[in-house]
């Protein structure tokens, strides 16, 4: 079936990007119903901190899971999980149908991805992995459960476990990975999660408007500066030292320096490179994104434990693809909060470090369409010498614009306006809002972690030779250090709000 972008509304029903917006907005609206006293979201299951020996001695689902709000406290925890499964399966299957995916394969795949995700999420909440020796919300689970040892990773344990399980499936159980790959959609899941993060940003404005806007503007400025530095440097090295042709150098430069796969496809389209080039480069980007995701969060946490926002912003500019960046930001968020809590007894509010990582990435996403348009015009005039004959339709900017970003900004602004215009309803609105930006968003993030592992096959690096070498040098010698310096310049001194 043809997939043409002809009208401005083309793709509204059949692209993952638009479906992230629809799904995110739907959950947002469900959450808002709490303003009128209707809790339409509290049924979603939520993992609890549990301890292995206690569970073995006296198994009960209520040790592992609970519903997200007290409205549904009569619902059995296992039934809450099944209800969560059915609702998410139904909504994503509707999306899969309109996206022309194979619905039967999607249902099988989603079922496997969903339950593997929850298994990772629950196991990751075992106290020896997650509990931190500090008081949080009047509880110190580490002491209350009499632990003698623990990794003290906080929520990061679940994220890393999901990632590892996904990677094991993607690299050692390839037939199974193939079977469930129809539903392993990290970009769809993470973009939906990012839309829901718009609520968190709205809440952050209420708590500290100055800090939130400072974070947003610093993210834009840093992304813009980094962007202008990365691209020409990588392009020059690719041409001069690796003897790549113009098309390959341009596509690879965008892939490494901007936003991974999206940027490489957009750039290749802009310069009308043969589609084989972005396909090869994208494979490379995905594999390297996994290295970044595994290496950078623990590295930054240990090297700069007192620069949380700088670390988050640097992550946003270094880790390619929205999925891997948000995943890395989420791991960094959890690891840094746990480390700071363990060391000082003070708990940073979650979401600030993640938002720093997302905000730089979102600005980069927005720039992609504009950059591709500029590049297309430059390419026609200076490389193809076709001035006056070929025209680039301005609609190209719109077709390449990430639509989930519109939903993210819409949710953020709407939530903020509602809160400022009607202060009397803040309490009620927060009931639904907290669950949607908490349990719903985290589930989308967890699905992303597992899915991104499933679709990453390290063996695809074979035969990439020059391109892989340039990518590795570009990323770790040029991009990561420059991104950190730029992040430091624009975010130095910014700290997350302390949780109460």
């Amino acid at each position: 079936m043809k997939q043409l972008n002809k009208k401005w509304y083309s793709g509204m029903l059949h692209t993952e990007d638009w479906w992230s917006a629809w799904l995110g907005l739907f959950f947002f609206i469900l959450g808002l119903l709490s303003i009128w006293g209707l809790d339409a979201v509290g049924w979603i299951a939520k993992p609890k901190t549990w301890e292995f020996s206690l569970l073995v001695n006296d198994f009960s689902w209520s040790q592992l899971l609970k519903t997200s709000s007290k409205t549904y406290h009569d619902l059995h925890p296992f039934m809450s999980l099944m209800l969560t499964y059915l609702i998410f399966l139904t909504l994503t299957t509707i999306g899969a149908y309109y996206q022309k995916l194979n619905v039967k394969r999607f249902i099988i795949g989603f079922t496997a991805v969903f339950f593997l995700t929850w298994a990772s999420w629950i196991i990751g909440h075992e106290a020896h992995l997650s509990a931190v020796d500090a008081v949080v919300k009047n509880h110190n689970y580490y002491k209350e459960l009499n632990l003698t040892w623990g990794l003290q990773l906080g929520g990061g344990a679940s994220y890393m476990l999901a990632l590892i399980i996904g990677l094991v499936i993607g690299n050692f159980f390839k037939k199974f990975a193939q079977k469930i790959s129809e539903a392993a959609k990290p970009e769809w899941f993470i973009k939906t999660g990012i839309v829901l993060l718009g609520i968190k940003l709205g809440m952050m404005v209420l708590k500290s408007a100055g800090k939130t806007f400072e974070l947003t503007l610093a993210g834009a400025a840093a992304a813009f500066v980094a962007y202008l530095l990365f691209w020409p440097i990588i392009y020059y090295i690719g041409r001069k030292f690796f003897k790549l042709n113009r098309s390959s150098a341009a596509v690879l430069s965008s892939g490494i320096s901007i936003c991974g796969v999206s940027a490489s496809i957009a750039t290749a389209g802009a310069i009308k490179a043969k589609p084989l080039i972005p396909i090869a480069v994208s494979t490379l980007i995905l594999v390297f994104a996994m290295f970044e995701l595994l290496i950078l969060p623990p590295l930054y946490t240990n090297l700069a434990p007192n620069a949380p926002i700088v670390n988050g912003a640097a992550m946003g500019m270094t880790v390619k693809t929205d999925g891997a960046d948000a995943a890395a930001g989420a791991i960094l968020d959890e690891l840094m909060i746990s480390k700071h809590l363990k060391q000082t007894g003070e708990k940073w509010e979650e979401g600030w470090i993640l938002s720093a990582a997302i905000l730089t990435k979102v600005w980069i996403d927005i720039f992609i369409g504009i950059w591709s348009f500029v590049l297309a015009v430059v390419w026609i005039k200076n490389v193809e010498n076709k001035e006056g004959k070929e025209k680039i339709p301005k609609s190209e900017i719109w077709f390449r614009f990430p639509k989930f970003v519109l939903a993210y900004l819409l949710v953020w602004v709407l939530y903020m306006l509602i809160m400022y215009a009607f202060p009397d309803i803040i309490h009620n609105a927060k009931i639904g809002g907290n669950i949607v930006q908490g349990s719903f968003r985290k589930l989308m993030f967890m699905l992303t972690f597992l899915s991104i592992g499933i679709i990453t096959d390290f063996s695809k690096l074979k035969g990439m030779g020059r391109l892989a070498l340039l990518y590795a040098i570009g990323l770790f010698v040029i991009i990561a250090p420059i991104a950190y310096v730029v992040a430091y310049l624009f975010h130095n001194g910014m700290m997350p709000v302390v949780a109460h």
Binding site: L4, D17, S181, S262, I265, S282, K389, K391, P393
Partner: protein, 79 residues
Amino acid sequence: MQIDLTLSFDQFKWICYHKKARFEADSLEDLDLQIKKYLSDTTNSKRVEARFLFDFDKFPTWMRQYMPHYFNKNIIYNL
């Protein structure tokens, strides 16, 4: 006169087609030449604006979630 064409690819070849004709070439420049010749032979118009719409369905499924658009382009042929 305006004409809409679908653009696609197969391994190393660019493919372009509409209801009545299909073209294949190794480069977009060669494709342009073929189309220009075809239009000269089949229309009386002196100026034809061709709108090329890329069929993204030919991209691997796993890649579509990252970016749902390759490129569209318009070319004015003065015949």
